[in-house]
Protein backbone atom coordinates (compact mmCIF):
# COMPACT_ATOMS: atom_id res chain seq x y z
CA UNK A 1 0.00 0.00 0.00
CA UNK A 2 1.20 3.47 -0.91
CA UNK A 3 0.58 6.14 1.72
CA UNK A 4 1.24 9.86 1.23
CA UNK A 5 1.14 12.06 4.30
CA UNK A 6 0.64 15.78 3.66
CA UNK A 7 2.58 17.89 6.14
CA UNK A 8 3.01 21.63 6.65
CA UNK A 9 5.85 23.72 8.00
CA UNK A 10 4.17 26.39 10.13
CA UNK A 11 5.15 29.22 12.49
CA UNK A 12 5.40 27.92 16.05
CA UNK A 13 1.88 28.15 17.51
CA UNK A 14 3.25 28.98 20.95
CA UNK A 15 5.17 32.02 19.60
CA UNK A 16 3.83 35.53 18.97
CA UNK A 17 2.71 35.21 15.34
CA UNK A 18 1.73 38.08 13.07
CA UNK A 19 0.90 39.08 9.49
CA UNK A 20 2.98 40.75 6.78
CA UNK A 21 1.79 43.93 5.02
CA UNK A 22 0.00 41.97 2.28
CA UNK A 23 -2.09 39.98 4.76
CA UNK A 24 -0.18 36.70 4.56
CA UNK A 25 1.43 34.87 7.49
CA UNK A 26 4.74 36.42 8.54
CA UNK A 27 7.15 33.48 8.39
CA UNK A 28 10.31 35.45 9.06
CA UNK A 29 9.54 36.72 12.56
CA UNK A 30 9.21 33.38 14.40
CA UNK A 31 10.65 29.87 14.09
CA UNK A 32 8.69 27.35 12.08
CA UNK A 33 8.23 23.65 12.66
CA UNK A 34 6.19 20.62 11.57
CA UNK A 35 2.55 21.47 12.36
CA UNK A 36 1.64 19.67 15.59
CA UNK A 37 -1.63 18.47 14.10
CA UNK A 38 0.24 16.81 11.20
CA UNK A 39 2.25 14.69 13.63
CA UNK A 40 -0.94 12.74 14.35
CA UNK A 41 -1.25 11.90 10.64
CA UNK A 42 2.40 10.79 10.53
CA UNK A 43 1.76 8.61 13.58
CA UNK A 44 -1.24 6.90 12.00
CA UNK A 45 0.72 6.21 8.80
CA UNK A 46 3.51 4.62 10.83
CA UNK A 47 1.04 2.46 12.78
CA UNK A 48 -0.51 1.22 9.53
CA UNK A 49 2.97 0.41 8.17
CA UNK A 50 3.81 -1.52 11.34
CA UNK A 51 0.94 -3.91 10.71
CA UNK A 52 1.57 -4.25 6.97
CA UNK A 53 5.07 -4.89 5.62
CA UNK A 54 4.13 -3.89 2.07
CA UNK A 55 3.37 -0.32 3.06
CA UNK A 56 5.48 2.52 1.74
CA UNK A 57 5.19 5.98 3.32
CA UNK A 58 6.05 9.24 1.54
CA UNK A 59 5.69 12.75 2.95
CA UNK A 60 4.64 15.70 0.85
CA UNK A 61 4.94 19.39 1.61
CA UNK A 62 4.48 22.64 -0.30
CA UNK A 63 6.56 25.60 0.83
CA UNK A 64 9.78 27.62 0.64
CA UNK A 65 13.30 26.22 1.24
CA UNK A 66 13.04 25.69 4.98
CA UNK A 67 9.82 23.66 4.62
CA UNK A 68 12.26 20.78 4.10
CA UNK A 69 12.72 20.78 7.86
CA UNK A 70 9.13 19.54 8.30
CA UNK A 71 9.87 16.65 5.92
CA UNK A 72 13.08 15.76 7.78
CA UNK A 73 11.22 15.77 11.09
CA UNK A 74 8.56 13.44 9.69
CA UNK A 75 11.23 11.18 8.14
CA UNK A 76 12.97 11.08 11.52
CA UNK A 77 9.76 9.66 13.02
CA UNK A 78 9.77 6.94 10.31
CA UNK A 79 8.72 6.43 6.69
CA UNK A 80 10.60 6.10 3.42
CA UNK A 81 10.82 9.20 1.25
CA UNK A 82 9.68 12.80 0.80
CA UNK A 83 8.55 15.25 -1.86
CA UNK A 84 9.02 19.00 -1.57
CA UNK A 85 7.16 21.29 -3.97
CA UNK A 86 9.06 24.57 -3.90
CA UNK A 87 8.26 27.40 -6.28
CA UNK A 88 8.27 31.17 -5.76
CA UNK A 89 4.89 31.48 -7.48
CA UNK A 90 3.19 29.42 -4.76
CA UNK A 91 3.60 32.00 -1.97
CA UNK A 92 0.27 33.57 -0.97
CA UNK A 93 -1.81 30.61 -2.16
CA UNK A 94 -5.18 30.01 -0.52
CA UNK A 95 -6.60 26.55 0.23
CA UNK A 96 -7.65 26.14 -3.42
CA UNK A 97 -4.14 26.86 -4.77
CA UNK A 98 -2.50 24.70 -2.10
CA UNK A 99 -4.85 21.77 -2.72
CA UNK A 100 -4.22 22.01 -6.48
CA UNK A 101 -0.46 21.70 -5.99
CA UNK A 102 -0.85 18.87 -3.48
CA UNK A 103 -3.32 16.98 -5.69
CA UNK A 104 -1.07 17.13 -8.77
CA UNK A 105 1.95 15.96 -6.77
CA UNK A 106 -0.09 13.12 -5.24
CA UNK A 107 -1.35 12.02 -8.69
CA UNK A 108 2.20 12.09 -10.05
CA UNK A 109 3.46 9.90 -7.20
CA UNK A 110 0.50 7.50 -7.08
CA UNK A 111 -1.32 6.54 -3.86
CA UNK A 112 -3.78 4.28 -2.10
CA UNK A 113 -4.18 6.45 0.97
CA UNK A 114 -3.57 10.15 1.58
CA UNK A 115 -3.30 11.04 5.27
CA UNK A 116 -3.66 14.59 6.62
CA UNK A 117 -3.99 16.36 9.96
CA UNK A 118 -7.42 17.88 10.73
CA UNK A 119 -6.14 21.43 10.03
CA UNK A 120 -2.92 23.41 9.99
CA UNK A 121 -2.14 25.32 13.17
CA UNK A 122 -1.65 28.58 11.23
CA UNK A 123 -4.51 28.83 8.72
CA UNK A 124 -6.81 26.54 10.79
CA UNK A 125 -9.43 26.26 8.01
CA UNK A 126 -9.31 22.44 7.94
CA UNK A 127 -10.63 22.21 4.38
CA UNK A 128 -7.60 20.95 2.44
CA UNK A 129 -8.40 17.22 3.00
CA UNK A 130 -11.94 17.68 1.58
CA UNK A 131 -10.60 19.73 -1.35
CA UNK A 132 -7.99 17.04 -2.05
CA UNK A 133 -10.65 14.32 -2.17
CA UNK A 134 -12.77 16.46 -4.48
CA UNK A 135 -9.81 17.14 -6.80
CA UNK A 136 -8.54 13.53 -6.76
CA UNK A 137 -12.05 12.11 -7.21
CA UNK A 138 -11.70 9.77 -4.22
CA UNK A 139 -13.49 9.33 -0.90
CA UNK A 140 -12.96 11.70 2.02
CA UNK A 141 -12.98 9.86 5.35
CA UNK A 142 -12.28 12.86 7.51
CA UNK A 143 -12.00 14.20 11.03
CA UNK A 144 -11.38 10.76 12.54
CA UNK A 145 -10.67 10.28 16.21
CA UNK A 146 -10.08 6.60 15.74
CA UNK A 147 -9.43 4.57 12.61
CA UNK A 148 -8.58 1.17 11.24
CA UNK A 149 -7.42 0.33 7.73
CA UNK A 150 -8.13 -3.27 6.78
CA UNK A 151 -8.56 -5.06 3.46
CA UNK A 152 -8.76 -1.84 1.50
CA UNK A 153 -11.37 -0.26 3.77
CA UNK A 154 -11.08 2.63 6.21
CA UNK A 155 -13.42 2.59 9.21
CA UNK A 156 -13.43 5.30 11.85
CA UNK A 157 -15.20 7.47 14.38
CA UNK A 158 -15.86 11.10 13.55
CA UNK A 159 -17.05 13.99 15.73
CA UNK A 160 -19.31 15.81 13.31
CA UNK A 161 -21.32 19.00 13.78
CA UNK A 162 -24.03 17.66 16.07
CA UNK A 163 -23.33 13.96 16.30
CA UNK A 164 -20.68 11.31 16.64
CA UNK A 165 -20.75 9.06 13.57
CA UNK A 166 -19.05 5.84 12.63
CA UNK A 167 -18.11 5.91 8.95
CA UNK A 168 -16.60 3.58 6.41
CA UNK A 169 -15.17 3.97 2.91
CA UNK A 170 -12.98 2.02 0.51
CA UNK A 171 -9.51 2.99 -0.64
CA UNK A 172 -8.28 5.00 -2.44
CA UNK A 173 -9.21 7.72 -0.02
CA UNK A 174 -8.14 10.90 1.70
CA UNK A 175 -8.22 10.45 5.47
CA UNK A 176 -7.78 13.19 8.06
CA UNK A 177 -7.21 12.58 11.76
CA UNK A 178 -7.74 14.74 14.85
CA UNK A 179 -5.48 15.27 17.83
CA UNK A 180 -7.49 12.53 19.59
CA UNK A 181 -6.37 9.79 17.19
CA UNK A 182 -3.33 8.76 19.23
CA UNK A 183 -0.19 10.40 20.60
CA UNK A 184 2.61 10.92 18.11
CA UNK A 185 5.98 9.29 18.75
CA UNK A 186 9.23 11.20 19.23
CA UNK A 187 12.00 10.68 16.68
CA UNK A 188 14.82 8.50 18.05
CA UNK A 189 18.48 9.41 17.57
CA UNK A 190 18.73 6.52 15.13
CA UNK A 191 15.68 7.87 13.30
CA UNK A 192 17.15 11.35 13.03
CA UNK A 193 20.40 9.96 11.57
CA UNK A 194 18.53 7.67 9.15
CA UNK A 195 16.31 10.56 7.98
CA UNK A 196 19.31 12.37 6.53
CA UNK A 197 19.86 9.55 4.06
CA UNK A 198 16.25 9.06 2.94
CA UNK A 199 15.42 10.32 -0.58
CA UNK A 200 13.92 13.81 -0.82
CA UNK A 201 12.68 14.92 -4.22
CA UNK A 202 12.17 18.61 -5.03
CA UNK A 203 9.59 19.64 -7.63
CA UNK A 204 8.64 22.96 -9.23
CA UNK A 205 5.24 23.97 -10.65
CA UNK A 206 6.36 23.12 -14.19
CA UNK A 207 6.94 19.49 -13.10
CA UNK A 208 3.27 19.35 -12.11
CA UNK A 209 1.87 21.10 -15.18
CA UNK A 210 0.53 24.02 -13.14
CA UNK A 211 0.61 27.62 -14.40
CA UNK A 212 1.85 30.30 -12.00
CA UNK A 213 -1.46 32.20 -12.36
CA UNK A 214 -3.39 29.21 -10.95
CA UNK A 215 -1.72 29.58 -7.55
CA UNK A 216 -0.28 32.25 -5.26
CA UNK A 217 -2.00 35.57 -4.76
CA UNK A 218 -2.96 35.58 -8.48
CA UNK A 219 -4.99 32.39 -8.11
CA UNK A 220 -6.45 33.16 -4.68
CA UNK A 221 -10.24 33.34 -4.49
CA UNK A 222 -10.45 35.57 -1.43
CA UNK A 223 -8.51 38.57 -0.19
CA UNK A 224 -7.62 39.90 3.24
CA UNK A 225 -8.63 43.56 3.58
CA UNK A 226 -7.25 44.27 7.06
CA UNK A 227 -5.30 42.29 9.65
CA UNK A 228 -4.92 43.99 12.99
CA UNK A 229 -3.63 42.89 16.35
CA UNK A 230 -6.36 42.73 18.96
CA UNK A 231 -5.56 45.08 21.84
CA UNK A 232 -4.37 43.07 24.84
CA UNK A 233 -7.07 42.55 27.46
CA UNK A 234 -6.80 45.01 30.27
CA UNK A 235 -5.82 42.97 33.27
CA UNK A 236 -8.61 42.85 35.80
CA UNK A 237 -8.58 42.64 39.55
CA UNK A 238 -6.77 39.65 41.03
CA UNK A 239 -7.64 38.80 44.62
CA UNK A 240 -6.04 36.24 46.92
CA UNK A 241 -8.67 34.17 48.71
CA UNK A 242 -8.70 34.75 52.43
CA UNK A 243 -12.05 33.11 53.01
CA UNK A 244 -14.48 35.40 51.20
CA UNK A 245 -13.32 35.34 47.55
CA UNK A 246 -16.29 33.19 46.50
CA UNK A 247 -18.70 35.84 47.78
CA UNK A 248 -16.51 38.52 46.18
CA UNK A 249 -16.74 36.69 42.85
CA UNK A 250 -20.54 36.61 43.20
CA UNK A 251 -20.52 40.37 43.82
CA UNK A 252 -18.41 40.88 40.67
CA UNK A 253 -20.78 38.72 38.60
CA UNK A 254 -23.71 40.74 39.96
CA UNK A 255 -22.15 44.04 38.82
CA UNK A 256 -21.79 42.48 35.35
CA UNK A 257 -25.47 41.36 35.52
CA UNK A 258 -24.76 37.63 35.32
CA UNK A 259 -26.65 37.08 38.56
Amino acid sequence: MKIIVCVKHVPDATADRTFTQDGTTDRASVDSLLSELDEYAVEQALRIAESDDDTEISYLTVGPDDAKDALRKALAMGGDSAIHVNDDSIGGSDAFGTSLVLARAIERHGFDLVLCGMASTDGTMGVVPALLAERLGVRAVTHLEELTVENGTVTGRREGDGATVRIQGNLPAVVSVTDRSGDARYPSFKGIMAAKKKPLETLALADLGIEAAQVGAAGARSAVDTATRRPPRTKGEIVVDEGSAGAGLAAFLTTRKFI
Partner: protein, 320 residues
Protein backbone atom coordinates in the same frame (compact mmCIF):
# COMPACT_ATOMS: atom_id res chain seq x y z
CA UNK B 1 -33.18 41.52 -3.97
CA UNK B 2 -30.61 38.76 -4.32
CA UNK B 3 -31.16 35.38 -2.76
CA UNK B 4 -28.83 34.23 0.04
CA UNK B 5 -28.71 30.47 0.62
CA UNK B 6 -28.47 29.32 4.24
CA UNK B 7 -27.71 25.66 4.95
CA UNK B 8 -29.90 24.57 7.87
CA UNK B 9 -28.31 22.70 10.76
CA UNK B 10 -31.04 20.54 12.25
CA UNK B 11 -31.94 17.16 13.72
CA UNK B 12 -35.19 15.84 12.18
CA UNK B 13 -36.44 19.37 11.67
CA UNK B 14 -35.42 20.73 15.09
CA UNK B 15 -33.46 23.79 13.92
CA UNK B 16 -30.35 24.60 15.94
CA UNK B 17 -29.65 28.15 17.11
CA UNK B 18 -26.64 28.84 14.81
CA UNK B 19 -29.02 28.55 11.82
CA UNK B 20 -31.20 31.35 13.24
CA UNK B 21 -28.02 33.43 13.53
CA UNK B 22 -27.19 32.69 9.88
CA UNK B 23 -30.69 33.77 8.78
CA UNK B 24 -30.25 37.00 10.76
CA UNK B 25 -26.88 37.69 9.07
CA UNK B 26 -28.26 36.70 5.64
CA UNK B 27 -30.90 39.46 5.87
CA UNK B 28 -28.09 42.05 5.81
CA UNK B 29 -27.00 40.67 2.43
CA UNK B 30 -30.29 39.89 0.66
CA UNK B 31 -33.32 37.62 0.94
CA UNK B 32 -32.59 34.45 2.94
CA UNK B 33 -33.55 31.09 1.47
CA UNK B 34 -33.11 28.10 3.77
CA UNK B 35 -31.75 24.83 2.37
CA UNK B 36 -33.06 21.94 4.45
CA UNK B 37 -31.49 18.56 3.78
CA UNK B 38 -33.04 15.39 5.22
CA UNK B 39 -36.43 14.82 6.87
CA UNK B 40 -38.27 17.30 9.07
CA UNK B 41 -39.44 20.08 6.74
CA UNK B 42 -42.85 20.39 8.43
CA UNK B 43 -41.29 20.77 11.86
CA UNK B 44 -38.66 23.26 10.64
CA UNK B 45 -40.87 25.58 8.58
CA UNK B 46 -42.25 27.59 11.51
CA UNK B 47 -38.81 28.35 13.02
CA UNK B 48 -37.22 29.17 9.65
CA UNK B 49 -40.12 31.48 8.73
CA UNK B 50 -40.01 33.23 12.09
CA UNK B 51 -36.37 34.23 11.44
CA UNK B 52 -36.91 35.54 7.93
CA UNK B 53 -36.57 32.65 5.46
CA UNK B 54 -38.51 33.68 2.32
CA UNK B 55 -38.09 30.27 0.71
CA UNK B 56 -37.24 26.82 1.99
CA UNK B 57 -35.62 24.39 -0.44
CA UNK B 58 -36.19 20.85 0.80
CA UNK B 59 -34.21 17.78 -0.21
CA UNK B 60 -35.65 14.79 1.60
CA UNK B 61 -33.60 11.93 0.15
CA UNK B 62 -32.25 8.92 2.08
CA UNK B 63 -28.73 9.55 0.70
CA UNK B 64 -28.39 12.63 2.94
CA UNK B 65 -28.30 10.57 6.14
CA UNK B 66 -26.82 7.37 4.73
CA UNK B 67 -23.61 8.87 3.40
CA UNK B 68 -21.16 11.46 4.71
CA UNK B 69 -21.01 15.05 3.36
CA UNK B 70 -20.97 14.35 -0.42
CA UNK B 71 -24.77 14.06 -0.93
CA UNK B 72 -25.11 17.44 0.81
CA UNK B 73 -22.45 18.82 -1.58
CA UNK B 74 -24.42 17.56 -4.60
CA UNK B 75 -27.64 19.06 -3.21
CA UNK B 76 -26.29 22.48 -2.26
CA UNK B 77 -24.30 22.83 -5.50
CA UNK B 78 -27.29 21.98 -7.68
CA UNK B 79 -29.61 24.32 -5.74
CA UNK B 80 -27.00 27.10 -6.07
CA UNK B 81 -26.76 26.50 -9.83
CA UNK B 82 -30.56 26.70 -10.14
CA UNK B 83 -31.04 29.80 -7.98
CA UNK B 84 -27.88 31.89 -8.62
CA UNK B 85 -27.56 33.22 -5.06
CA UNK B 86 -25.47 36.27 -4.05
CA UNK B 87 -23.85 34.29 -1.23
CA UNK B 88 -24.04 30.92 0.58
CA UNK B 89 -23.82 30.76 4.38
CA UNK B 90 -23.14 27.58 6.36
CA UNK B 91 -22.44 26.79 10.02
CA UNK B 92 -18.73 26.39 10.92
CA UNK B 93 -18.17 22.83 12.02
CA UNK B 94 -16.45 19.81 10.50
CA UNK B 95 -19.48 19.02 8.30
CA UNK B 96 -20.31 22.62 7.38
CA UNK B 97 -16.73 23.46 6.44
CA UNK B 98 -16.27 20.37 4.28
CA UNK B 99 -19.55 20.93 2.47
CA UNK B 100 -18.61 24.60 1.97
CA UNK B 101 -15.16 23.81 0.56
CA UNK B 102 -16.39 21.25 -1.94
CA UNK B 103 -19.34 23.39 -3.05
CA UNK B 104 -16.99 26.36 -3.56
CA UNK B 105 -14.58 24.24 -5.61
CA UNK B 106 -17.41 22.94 -7.81
CA UNK B 107 -18.89 26.42 -8.32
CA UNK B 108 -15.49 28.01 -8.99
CA UNK B 109 -16.11 30.25 -5.97
CA UNK B 110 -14.00 31.48 -3.12
CA UNK B 111 -14.42 30.41 0.51
CA UNK B 112 -14.03 32.04 3.91
CA UNK B 113 -14.35 29.89 7.05
CA UNK B 114 -15.00 30.66 10.72
CA UNK B 115 -16.38 34.17 10.24
CA UNK B 116 -17.44 35.85 13.48
CA UNK B 117 -19.32 38.60 11.65
CA UNK B 118 -20.62 39.20 8.11
CA UNK B 119 -21.70 42.58 6.73
CA UNK B 120 -22.67 43.89 3.28
CA UNK B 121 -19.83 45.61 1.43
CA UNK B 122 -19.47 47.29 -1.99
CA UNK B 123 -18.01 44.10 -3.51
CA UNK B 124 -20.21 41.60 -1.68
CA UNK B 125 -20.07 40.29 1.89
CA UNK B 126 -17.23 41.40 4.16
CA UNK B 127 -16.27 38.94 6.88
CA UNK B 128 -14.50 39.26 10.19
CA UNK B 129 -12.41 36.40 11.58
CA UNK B 130 -9.98 35.73 14.42
CA UNK B 131 -6.45 34.54 13.64
CA UNK B 132 -3.38 33.24 15.45
CA UNK B 133 -5.06 32.03 18.61
CA UNK B 134 -7.46 34.98 18.56
CA UNK B 135 -4.63 37.52 18.93
CA UNK B 136 -5.54 39.08 15.56
CA UNK B 137 -8.68 40.32 13.85
CA UNK B 138 -8.93 39.93 10.08
CA UNK B 139 -11.45 41.31 7.60
CA UNK B 140 -11.69 39.66 4.19
CA UNK B 141 -13.90 39.15 1.16
CA UNK B 142 -14.32 36.55 -1.56
CA UNK B 143 -13.03 37.70 -4.94
CA UNK B 144 -14.50 35.06 -7.19
CA UNK B 145 -18.07 34.10 -8.06
CA UNK B 146 -20.59 33.26 -5.30
CA UNK B 147 -19.02 33.88 -1.88
CA UNK B 148 -19.23 30.75 0.29
CA UNK B 149 -18.88 31.61 3.98
CA UNK B 150 -18.97 29.47 7.11
CA UNK B 151 -19.96 31.31 10.29
CA UNK B 152 -19.15 30.43 13.89
CA UNK B 153 -21.91 30.13 16.49
CA UNK B 154 -22.68 33.33 18.47
CA UNK B 155 -21.68 35.58 15.53
CA UNK B 156 -25.01 37.40 15.81
CA UNK B 157 -28.02 37.45 18.11
CA UNK B 158 -30.97 35.82 16.31
CA UNK B 159 -33.58 38.50 15.50
CA UNK B 160 -37.09 37.40 14.48
CA UNK B 161 -38.48 38.75 11.17
CA UNK B 162 -41.63 36.68 10.51
CA UNK B 163 -42.36 35.55 6.95
CA UNK B 164 -44.66 33.02 5.34
CA UNK B 165 -42.04 30.96 3.54
CA UNK B 166 -42.59 29.20 0.22
CA UNK B 167 -41.55 25.54 0.54
CA UNK B 168 -40.08 24.04 -2.64
CA UNK B 169 -39.09 20.39 -2.91
CA UNK B 170 -35.89 19.95 -4.91
CA UNK B 171 -34.88 16.83 -6.83
CA UNK B 172 -31.17 16.18 -6.81
CA UNK B 173 -29.16 14.03 -9.20
CA UNK B 174 -26.69 12.40 -6.80
CA UNK B 175 -23.38 11.57 -8.45
CA UNK B 176 -21.79 8.13 -8.07
CA UNK B 177 -19.24 9.59 -5.63
CA UNK B 178 -22.10 10.52 -3.27
CA UNK B 179 -22.32 6.95 -2.04
CA UNK B 180 -18.61 6.88 -1.17
CA UNK B 181 -18.49 7.05 2.60
CA UNK B 182 -21.22 5.17 4.42
CA UNK B 183 -22.51 6.31 7.82
CA UNK B 184 -22.62 3.11 9.91
CA UNK B 185 -24.14 4.76 12.98
CA UNK B 186 -25.02 8.23 14.15
CA UNK B 187 -25.21 9.24 17.81
CA UNK B 188 -26.54 12.77 18.28
CA UNK B 189 -24.71 14.50 21.11
CA UNK B 190 -26.62 14.47 24.39
CA UNK B 191 -28.35 17.80 24.86
CA UNK B 192 -29.25 17.29 28.52
CA UNK B 193 -30.70 20.19 30.48
CA UNK B 194 -27.75 22.51 29.97
CA UNK B 195 -27.25 24.80 26.97
CA UNK B 196 -24.90 23.56 24.26
CA UNK B 197 -21.30 24.62 24.66
CA UNK B 198 -20.99 26.49 21.34
CA UNK B 199 -24.28 28.34 21.83
CA UNK B 200 -24.13 29.13 25.56
CA UNK B 201 -23.98 32.69 26.89
CA UNK B 202 -22.17 31.41 29.97
CA UNK B 203 -19.51 28.68 30.05
CA UNK B 204 -17.98 27.24 33.23
CA UNK B 205 -14.88 25.14 32.52
CA UNK B 206 -12.75 22.87 34.66
CA UNK B 207 -9.12 21.91 34.20
CA UNK B 208 -6.33 19.94 35.80
CA UNK B 209 -7.01 21.60 39.16
CA UNK B 210 -10.43 19.93 39.36
CA UNK B 211 -8.46 16.78 40.04
CA UNK B 212 -10.86 13.95 39.20
CA UNK B 213 -14.00 13.07 37.27
CA UNK B 214 -16.15 13.03 40.42
CA UNK B 215 -15.13 16.61 41.22
CA UNK B 216 -16.60 17.86 37.95
CA UNK B 217 -19.95 17.74 39.79
CA UNK B 218 -18.80 20.97 41.45
CA UNK B 219 -18.13 22.59 38.05
CA UNK B 220 -21.58 21.44 36.94
CA UNK B 221 -23.16 22.95 40.07
CA UNK B 222 -21.62 26.34 39.27
CA UNK B 223 -22.75 26.05 35.63
CA UNK B 224 -26.30 25.19 36.72
CA UNK B 225 -26.40 28.03 39.23
CA UNK B 226 -25.47 30.45 36.44
CA UNK B 227 -27.54 28.71 33.74
CA UNK B 228 -24.43 27.94 31.70
CA UNK B 229 -22.74 25.14 29.81
CA UNK B 230 -19.85 23.02 31.11
CA UNK B 231 -16.46 23.04 29.40
CA UNK B 232 -13.16 21.30 30.10
CA UNK B 233 -9.51 21.81 29.29
CA UNK B 234 -7.51 19.37 27.17
CA UNK B 235 -5.76 18.10 30.31
CA UNK B 236 -9.08 17.28 32.01
CA UNK B 237 -10.40 15.59 28.88
CA UNK B 238 -7.21 13.60 28.32
CA UNK B 239 -7.39 12.42 31.93
CA UNK B 240 -10.87 11.07 31.18
CA UNK B 241 -12.63 13.34 33.66
CA UNK B 242 -15.04 14.86 31.14
CA UNK B 243 -16.15 13.95 27.57
CA UNK B 244 -14.13 15.23 24.64
CA UNK B 245 -17.22 16.91 23.19
CA UNK B 246 -16.83 19.48 25.99
CA UNK B 247 -13.18 20.32 25.32
CA UNK B 248 -12.56 24.04 24.91
CA UNK B 249 -9.48 24.96 22.92
CA UNK B 250 -7.87 25.35 19.55
CA UNK B 251 -8.53 21.73 18.60
CA UNK B 252 -11.71 21.36 20.61
CA UNK B 253 -14.62 23.74 20.64
CA UNK B 254 -13.90 27.43 20.32
CA UNK B 255 -16.32 29.43 22.42
CA UNK B 256 -17.10 33.12 22.64
CA UNK B 257 -19.67 33.51 25.43
CA UNK B 258 -20.64 36.59 27.45
CA UNK B 259 -19.03 34.99 30.52
CA UNK B 260 -16.26 32.39 30.71
CA UNK B 261 -15.39 31.03 34.15
CA UNK B 262 -12.16 28.98 34.21
CA UNK B 263 -11.72 26.82 37.31
CA UNK B 264 -8.38 25.09 37.88
CA UNK B 265 -7.19 25.93 34.36
CA UNK B 266 -3.69 27.37 33.98
CA UNK B 267 -4.34 28.75 30.49
CA UNK B 268 -2.01 27.07 27.99
CA UNK B 269 -1.90 28.82 24.60
CA UNK B 270 -4.14 26.17 23.01
CA UNK B 271 -6.80 26.72 25.66
CA UNK B 272 -6.59 30.50 25.40
CA UNK B 273 -7.05 30.20 21.63
CA UNK B 274 -10.43 28.60 22.29
CA UNK B 275 -11.86 31.11 24.77
CA UNK B 276 -10.08 34.45 24.76
CA UNK B 277 -12.72 36.22 22.69
CA UNK B 278 -15.17 35.69 25.57
CA UNK B 279 -16.68 39.00 26.70
CA UNK B 280 -15.98 38.62 30.44
CA UNK B 281 -13.38 36.17 31.76
CA UNK B 282 -13.16 34.98 35.36
CA UNK B 283 -10.48 32.62 36.67
CA UNK B 284 -10.02 30.65 39.87
CA UNK B 285 -6.61 29.01 40.28
CA UNK B 286 -4.19 28.17 43.08
CA UNK B 287 -1.15 29.31 41.11
CA UNK B 288 -0.81 33.12 41.11
CA UNK B 289 1.48 32.87 38.04
CA UNK B 290 -1.06 30.97 35.88
CA UNK B 291 -1.24 32.66 32.44
CA UNK B 292 -5.05 32.59 32.58
CA UNK B 293 -4.87 35.54 35.02
CA UNK B 294 -3.45 37.72 32.21
CA UNK B 295 -6.85 37.46 30.51
CA UNK B 296 -9.07 37.60 33.58
CA UNK B 297 -11.39 40.51 34.29
CA UNK B 298 -11.64 39.07 37.78
CA UNK B 299 -9.19 36.49 39.12
CA UNK B 300 -9.19 34.57 42.36
CA UNK B 301 -5.94 33.04 43.59
CA UNK B 302 -7.28 30.28 45.77
CA UNK B 303 -8.54 26.74 46.22
CA UNK B 304 -11.47 26.12 43.87
CA UNK B 305 -12.93 23.63 46.37
CA UNK B 306 -13.36 26.52 48.81
CA UNK B 307 -14.18 29.32 46.35
CA UNK B 308 -16.74 27.60 44.11
CA UNK B 309 -19.08 26.23 46.84
CA UNK B 310 -19.12 29.69 48.42
CA UNK B 311 -19.90 31.19 45.00
CA UNK B 312 -22.84 28.82 44.49
CA UNK B 313 -24.16 29.56 47.99
CA UNK B 314 -23.90 33.31 47.40
CA UNK B 315 -25.63 33.05 43.97
CA UNK B 316 -28.50 31.16 45.61
CA UNK B 317 -28.70 33.70 48.45
CA UNK B 318 -28.73 36.65 46.04
CA UNK B 319 -31.43 35.01 43.92
CA UNK B 320 -33.75 34.07 46.79
Amino acid sequence: MAEILVLVDHVDGAVRKPTLELLTLARRLGEPSAVLLGPGADAATEALGRYGAQKIYVVDAPEIDEYLVTPAVDALTQIAERTGPAAILLPSGPDGKEIAARVALRLGSGLITDAVDVTAGPDGPVTEQSAFAATHQVTAHVTRDVPVITVKPNAAAPEPAPTDPVVEKQDIAFGPASAGVRVLSRTPRERGDRPELTEADIVVSGGRGVNGAENFALVERVADALGGAVGASRAAVDAGWYPHSHQVGQTGTQVSPQLYLAAGISGAIQHRAGMQTSRTIVAVNKDPDAPIFELADHGVVGDLFAVLPQLVEEIERRRS
